[in-house]
């Protein structure tokens, strides 16, 4: 009797899990399917799910209208570049907070986190004016700097929690073995923290890839990443849903694929600090 109950319950829970997963995935699936429809099919009522004339015309038009590859390469350069530089700053910062904390370290960590709580729009005007005067508008360096500073608190916090999991006596053993601070970080700390660093970087890259507010406001053409690419498909006349779907699919495909292949790492990284 108990066995049968458990099987029944398991079946119900599994079905529920699949339903929830489908609901969460549905917007992405719908976007993907819509990108292969004609504009008429895209706005058809009742909505057409799978049975319509599949076409690739939207993808061709999107590529003809704007250079997808340039936007994509900007996204890659900005997401990866800004966060690699961020990592170079965050690793020593997190080291000092984890292994050589002072009286004010906790306050510093809280203050850094608090900067993420402020609405970005509050500083849009001053940043814009600064960028204008420093000739940083629509430049990779400029927007890269903003993305770096946006993610730095996250990078430092996440690395700080990973570093605190590392037994201090292994680092002390390295010191006794004659390692300088740089060698200690390079040869002992970093290799041991690789899973944590990898998942921190993945998360930071995903956040930078999706960052829309600053990329839309501070770039126009040269430094514009894929967020601007998608935004360019919203016209005063209304949305061209099929083309917009094609543009969106092209914009999220790279990061979706990256996330799929690194999901184990991501999950491990995000839950690592939770269990002692």
């Amino acid at each position: 009797m108990a066995l049968r109950q458990s099987i029944g319950r398991r079946v119900r829970v599994t079905i529920l899990a699949w339903v929830v997963a489908f609901l969460i995935f549905f917007p992405i699936l719908w976007t993907f399917l819509t990108s292969f429809k004609s504009e008429l099919d895209a706005i058809a009522m009742p909505p057409k799910f799978l049975f319509f004339n599949w076409t690739l015309e939207n993808y061709f038009e999107v590529q003809a209208r704007s250079n997808y590859l340039r936007f994509a390469s900007n996204s890659i350069i900005l997401s990866v570049g800004a966060n690699v530089v961020g990592l170079l700053i965050a690793v020593p910062a997190a080291w000092s907070m984890a292994f050589a904390p002072g009286k004010r370290t906790k306050d510093l960590l809280m203050w850094m986190l608090s900067t993420k709580m402020m609405p970005a729009v509050g500083v849009l005007v001053p940043i814009y004016l600064l960028f204008r005067d420093l000739h940083l508008l629509d430049s990779l360096i400029g927007i890269g700097l903003v993305l770096l500073l946006l993610n730095l608190p996250l990078l430092i916090w996440m690395l700080y929690t990973y570093f605190k999991e590392i037994p201090v006596d292994i680092l002390e053993a390295a010191r006794m073995d004659g390692a300088s601070l740089l060698n200690e970080i390079l040869y002992v700390l970093t290799p041991m923290a690789v899973p944590g660093i990898a998942s921190t970087m993945l998360l930071a890259i995903i956040l930078s890839w999706n960052e829309a507010f600053w990329t839309l406001n501070l770039t126009t053409s040269n430094a514009a990443p894929l967020t601007a690419f998608i935004a360019s498909y919203s016209a005063p006349e209304g949305f061209f849903w099929a083309k917009l779907s094609a543009a969106s699919t092209l914009a999220i495909a790279p990061i979706l694929i990256l996330g799929w292949f690194s999901q184990k790492q991501l999950v491990r990284g995000l839950t690592f600090g939770a269990v002692k």
Binding site: D169, E172, A173, R175, M176, D177, G178, S180, M192
Partner: protein, 333 residues
């Protein structure tokens, strides 16, 4: 050369004073053991010698040179940690070679030294394994190998055997002792286990709440403890400490007698007592008895003793081995 001197060394963590003015000399080639109960400051003192903590006051001298403000990497010492602290991402070879790599030595020299250390410690077959693939005893050997290969002025051991099972602990104790004889290098060894202290040390430093209670050879501490703390700490089972009339008639506030320095009789003796429990170890029998007006007594008899709980006995201390302590707990000569 590897003599170590501590001059009026103090250490405080914020307002909490952990080490109170310690003066100590460890001669070149000596095996010194820091022993004491948990929280007495023995590990802290070792870390001050190593340079892993900074002193609040006082000086640390190595071979007569002031190393107080010198970092751990430059002191020329090697440390074996309680948790072994092996680098988990490096093989045994990598772990042992790391210090030599940091010193910038040539690859062939490193290889030769690593092989030699591995051979000394029976690790040759494990050189390519990672620490997680080793047993506790093997990891301990790698930690020691990592220390040996540096040819340091002195070795520092921080309770290295406390994570091992009893049999392995005895074996490693002997191996470390043999290592000391072979290398003739100064060793400072921290333990809370006074059996390790007694069996391994040339000199024992007993620490009590951040201060040195007594320094001396194992037998000196055993036979002539300078106070109640050392008397009660050194020796297992602990010394019987008796106050009251028996002490007063011998001109002391407290007298002490070791369990093996008593005579037991079923007919006559100074202290009548009742047996509570007899522990039969085969080689010895430990008898726990309750003496009226005296308190609990632990007695040690060689071999097998046919004493049963509830039995009445008489205990007489051997006067030649009696220890006397004054009202401040200090030894009366």
């Amino acid at each position: 050369m590897g003599s170590i001197q501590l001059k009026s060394v103090e250490k405080a963590f914020g307002a909490v004073k952990v080490i109170n003015g310690v003066d100590l000399n460890v001669e070149n080639g000596e095996f010194a053991v820091f022993v004491g109960p948990s929280g007495c400051g023995k590990s802290t003192l070792l870390r001050l010698v190593a340079g892993l903590e900074d002193v609040t006051a006082g000086q640390v001298l190595i071979d007569g040179r002031d190393m107080t403000n010198v970092g751990p990497a430059q002191r020329g010492l090697a440390m074996v940690f309680q948790s072994y602290a092996l680098y988990p991402h490096m093989s045994v070879r990598g772990n042992i070679a790391f210090a030599l790599k940091m010193a910038g030595q040539k690859a062939d020299v490193i290889d030769q030294k690593v092989r030699k250390a591995a051979a000394t410690l029976n690790l040759t077959d494990y050189l390519d394994r990672k620490p997680r693939q080793l047993s506790g005893g093997q990891r301990q050997r790698v930690a020691i190998g990592r220390a040996i290969v540096r040819e340091p002025k002195a070795f520092l051991f921080d309770e290295p055997l406390s994570n091992l099972d009893a049999a392995l602990r005895v074996q490693m104790r002997v191996e470390i002792g043999e290592l000391h004889n072979a290398l003739a290098t100064t060793m400072i060894y921290v333990t809370h286990d006074q059996v390790e202290a007694m069996t391994m040390a040339d000199k024992i430093v007993v620490l009590d709440r951040g201060s040195v209670a007594q320094v001396g050879s194992p037998l000196e501490l055993y036979n002539r403890p300078n106070g109640l703390f050392v008397a009660g700490f050194i020796g297992s089972p602990t010394m019987n400490l008796i106050k009251g009339a028996s002490a007063a008639k011998r001109g002391a506030m407290t007298i002490g007698i070791r369990p093996e320095h008593t005579d037991i009789s079923t007919s006559a003796g100074e202290w009548p007592a009742k047996v509570r429990l007899a522990e039969h170890l085969g080689s010895d029998t430990f008898v726990h008895a309750e003496a009226g007006g005296i308190g609990p007594l632990t007695l040690r008899l060689e071999g097998e003793a046919a004493l049963k709980p509830g039995q009445d006995i008489f205990v007489t201390p051997r006067e030649a081995h009696l220890h006397r302590f004054d009202k401040d707990g200090r030894r009366i000569a």
